[in-house]
């Protein structure tokens, strides 16, 4: 009866646990986006409820701003909405609402109902600009600096922790 063989289960377990730990860090949401550090793709899109006026990202030049992709058909957007609203109250930086593949009317209603935290809302009806931004999991949020470079990207609903741990410190750092 060699006691070592009683250690075999422990050994196997440690190996499995190590892989599980590695697996956790592989969360697809955590994969650094290739867009980070690149210039934000250019666009010029109609503004919600004023389709003859257009808004382009050059209008945001020399500003740090947040681009928040949302849609009225998207459930998780509602989850993160209170956080965006809160963020807007703190008015750290302007927020551009990016209405993605939505009916403009539905989007307006949605904003009336749940509150409109955006400084401006642009409409990407066919999602073509969204494609340039690599949007696939609405909601998505981008932080863009004064030079128009994407500094931060979050796929999926923003949490309070994202705001306080990542976004606000980054804004502070960028504005210095």
């Amino acid at each position: 009866m060699a006691p070592t063989r009683f250690l075999i289960p422990l050994g196997i377990f440690i190996a499995v646990a190590a892989f599980l730990f590695k697996g956790l860090s592989l969360d697809p949401k955590e994969v650094p986006s290739p867009l980070i550090g690149k210039a934000a793709p250019e666009f010029s899109l109609p503004i919600l409820n004023a389709s003859d006026t257009r808004f382009a990202n050059v209008d945001m030049a020399d500003k740090i701003w947040l681009l928040n992709v949302f849609a009225s058909w998207c459930g998780p957007c509602l989850d993160e909405h209170p956080i965006i609203v809160n963020f807007a109250r703190s008015a750290a930086v302007p927020i551009l609402g990016f209405n993605y593949k939505d009916r403009p009317q539905a989007a307006s209603q949605w904003l009336d109902r749940h509150g409109d935290p955006y400084d401006q809302v642009v409409v990407d009806l066919d999602g073509r600009i969204g494609l340039d931004y690599g949007v696939y999991g609405v909601p998505e949020t981008f932080l863009i600096d004064r030079e128009g470079i994407i500094r931060y990207k979050k796929i999926g609903p923003l949490t309070q922790a994202d705001v306080s741990k990542d976004i606000l410190p980054l804004i502070k750092e960028l504005s210095e």
Partner: protein
């Protein structure tokens, strides 16, 4: 037989069973792993011939066509660089939509058509299976590098 021998035989039988089990597992493993490819990789011909694999990406807008029988559909899966034509016979998942993420499992036929025997859907209104997301991320990377 001495008790020691009996125990030995028992251990041998148990090990044999274990070995048999392991053999099945390994054999099944070799032939049943399904690898994942992006449309760009499919286009470049990096996929195994005659073996089932998965592709992921977005359903190309306006690509959905239905055959006369109503149950065979054709659509294209894109990672924004390349498109792969897909044919599927059966009922598409409730959340299948043009412009949304999709993962399909099947084989490439002689004409370069991907014949899917499974179209997967995750039950989430914001449906983007990780594999589809991966395909788009990789494509984005390639685009960034070539620019």
């Amino acid at each position: 037989m001495k008790p020691r021998h009996k125990r030995l035989i028992l251990v041998v039988v148990a090990l044999a069973l274990l070995g048999l089990g392991a053999t099945f597992v390994l054999k099944a493993f070799r032939s049943n792993l399904v690898f994942f490819y992006t449309p760009t990789e499919v286009f470049a011909g990096q996929v195994p011939q005659g073996q089932a694999f998965r592709i992921g990406g977005m359903v190309l807008e306006d690509s959905l066509q239905r055959n006369e029988d109503g149950v065979t559909v054709r659509f294209a899966v894109t990672d924004t660089i390349e498109d792969v034509p897909v044919q599927f016979t059966g009922i598409l998942p409730d959340l299948f939509q043009e412009g949304k993420g999709v993962v399909a499992q099947g084989r490439i036929n002689m004409e370069g058509m991907f014949v899917a025997d499974q179209v997967l859907a995750k039950h989430d209104e914001n449906y983007m299976p990780p594999e589809a997301a991966e395909a788009l991320e990789r494509a984005m990377k390639i685009k960034m590098e070539t620019e």
